[in-house]
């Protein structure tokens, strides 16, 4: 089972591996089914047996030119782009998700990096206690904080606002912890030299520490961004209106429709495609960064 690199592996072992290729297919199959489903017409979606290669590819699930709001035309369907409430549609939700993801990722990373820098290189009485508080907070599961935070956001009058989506997630303790580990390896001499040159804390952080920890920004930024892009439960609690809706919320709604309306599958697949495709594309381009980022902690701890 554990062969050496230069060791001949018997053909038996190669054959034994074949069933695993079925697993490979099964991993990709949902993505394939999603991709072809999004281009199928309604009759083809519910055809039996289903087609594995699209016979009549259509863009109806994304945008159906024959669809008219408020008119019932047989065979025509509101595509993903046409599913609108209060004039806000898919592109609006897309922009919401994108802006929130970028904003929260960028700001939470910068803030955490600055905090990690002060804690490691500019300690003050109480900074050790603060660090332990950060560590302790990482052991509290989110189920504990979500109820008081929901009450807090309600009391602040932030329901149905971008603030509710962005602000509570900005102070991320685990990112501070991650950067702290990185900064411990920055030599103090470097910081001292910059201090001698008259640079203050913020200046040193911005022009010395931040560039030095750039690989770390990418590594931790990817999982933070993915989690933010997929965030579903919190928006579900604090957003009820269409103006602030995000993509996962819209998907959740469409998936809810599927329960009693199997014919909406094409639209759901189209929406899933539009949401997954950017992540898949980014992953294929930056494979190494994604894998390093998402497995961070597994091999160092």
């Amino acid at each position: 089972m554990q062969a050496l690199p230069n060791e001949k592996v018997g053909w038996g072992w190669t054959v034994a591996r074949l069933p695993l290729l079925i697993l490979v297919i099964s991993v990709l199959l949902p993505y394939y089914w999603m991709a072809i489903g999004s281009f199928k017409t309604v009759p083809e979606l519910v055809q039996q047996p289903p087609t594995f290669i699209v016979e009549n590819p259509t863009l109806q699930n994304f945008h159906d030119p024959g669809f008219k709001e408020g008119e019932n035309r047989p065979g025509h369907w509101a595509g993903v782009m046409q599913r609108q409430t209060d004039g806000k549609g898919f592109l609006h939700y897309y922009a919401n998700s994108l802006v929130i993801t970028l904003f929260v990722t960028a700001l939470s990373l910068l803030a955490a990096s600055l905090v990690a820098f002060v804690l490691t290189k500019r300690p003050f009485p109480g900074s050790r206690f603060l660090f332990y508080m950060l560590l302790a907070s990482m052991m509290v599961p989110w189920e504990v904080t979500i109820i008081p935070n929901f009450i807090m956001v309600t009391d602040l009058g932030w329901i149905d606002s971008y603030k509710a989506l962005m602000v509570p997630g900005l102070a991320k303790a685990f990112v501070v912890f991650y950067f702290r580990q990185m900064m411990l390896s920055i030599p103090n001499d470097l910081i001292d030299a910059a201090t001698m040159d008259g640079a203050g804390t913020f200046r040193i952080w911005w022009s010395v520490v931040l560039p030095l920890t750039r690989p770390g920004l990418a590594a931790i930024g990817i999982p933070v961004a993915i989690a933010e892009w997929n965030n579903f439960l919190w928006p579900l609690l604090v957003i009820n209106d269409s103006a602030h809706m995000t993509l996962p919320l819209m998907l959740g709604k469409l998936a809810g429709n599927l329960t009693y309306d199997p014919q909406s599958a094409g639209v759901l697949m189209a929406a899933s495609m539009a949401v997954s495709l950017p992540a898949i594309a980014a992953f294929l381009v930056f494979q190494k960064q994604f894998i390093d980022g998402l497995t961070t902690g597994a091999l160092k701890g």
Partner: protein, 321 residues
């Protein structure tokens, strides 16, 4: 942010030479650390408001009757008493524990098998690993929605089509209590096995090669080498994957919510897919019984904590052996 002071300055106070008796300790402290603390104070404020304070508030709420409309009323341990008497809670606990154990064991075993099979630097092995890793990157609600479509109860649903190839009758995957748990487990294993694969490959690569060479010289077979070198050397990685996997699957929410969640049946058919977090969600945000839901959150936290402790103890005990 860029306007923050760049050096410890004390504009508001005069600047006595250090060590002057007039210097109060506070002033010295502020001069030395004030600007630094000011820099991180926005983070600290948010951290205190959204991460620390909620812990205390949640603990308090768990001892109250609170429905969001009127002020919380202290009821002592009533929530916990009610919780431990609720049959539905045990249902959720049982489902969650089964789910957690099966998912984390299957995902670890499959991850190991895959790592042994596709762990080399060969180009096609790398591509296979990338394929398996895909759900970790492009997962979430989108892909769970796709699974909901795959598991469609009609004969044209993909899973039912595959069943028909083997001569099996279509099944109502989302409506039959017997199928809820297997479906959720399959989805979770599908999501996480590639992640485990990648971690195990990295872990195996860090095992010194001479260990294997020495063992091979002594005539150890590949199977022996796996059990006597790879597995023991991989123990920390295995333990990490197992603990994080268990903690993650214990808190499962999105999958049952998207697959089964409607307001009237959040637990799926006959509560067969009711998990602890969906149970919490049901009480907290459907029935707005926020005190009770807080108690659920603390019970869940206690179980998670105990789980982590047991795992770590086990890991340490094994190390000594």
């Amino acid at each position: 942010m860029s306007t923050a002071p760049t050096r410890p300055s004390s504009d508001s106070t005069e600047r006595p030479t250090s060590g002057t008796p007039r210097d109060s300790r506070l002033l010295v402290f502020l001069r030395k650390h004030g600007a630094n603390i000011l820099l991180i104070s926005p983070f600290l404020a948010l951290f205190a408001v959204f991460s620390i304070w909620p812990v205390f508030r949640s603990a308090y709420l768990s001892f109250t009757d609170y429905h969001a409309t009127e002020a919380p009323v202290w009821i002592g341990l009533d929530n916990y008493v009610e919780l431990f008497a609720d049959e539905r809670f045990y249902r959720a606990l049982g489902n969650t524990v089964t789910y957690m154990l099966v998912v984390s064991l299957l995902a670890v075993v499959l991850g190991l098998v895959l790592a042994l099979s596709f762990g080399t630097q060969k180009r096609w092995h790398q591509w296979i690993r990338i394929a398996f890793f895909l759900p970790s990157v492009a997962g979430g609600v989108g892909v769970i929605s796709v699974w909901k479509w795959l598991a469609n109860s009609e004969p044209y649903g993909l899973f039912n089509t595959i069943r028909s190839w083997f001569g099996l009758d279509p099944v109502r995957f989302l409506g039959d209590p017997a199928w809820a748990q297997p479906l959720l487990i399959a989805l979770a294993v599908w999501t996480v096995m590639g992640y485990n694969l990648v971690i195990f490959v990295a872990g195996m690569r860090s095992i010194p090669g001479d260990l294997y060479e020495a063992a091979a010289l002594d005539g150890a077979s590949p199977v022996q080498r796996f059990f006597h070198i790879t597995l023991p050397q991989l123990r920390p990685t295995l333990l990490y994957v197992l603990i994080t996997g268990m903690i993650g699957s214990f808190q499962v929410f999105y999958e049952p919510y998207i697959l089964f969640g409607t307001v009237d049946a959040i637990g799926g058919p006959l509560d067969s897919a009711l998990m602890l977090v969906t149970y919490l969600f049901d009480h907290g945000f459907h029935q707005l019984n926020l005190g009770y839901a807080s108690a659920v959150a603390w019970v869940l936290t206690t179980i998670l904590f105990a789980l982590t402790m047991i795992n770590m103890r086990l890991g340490r005990a094994n190390e000594g052996a």
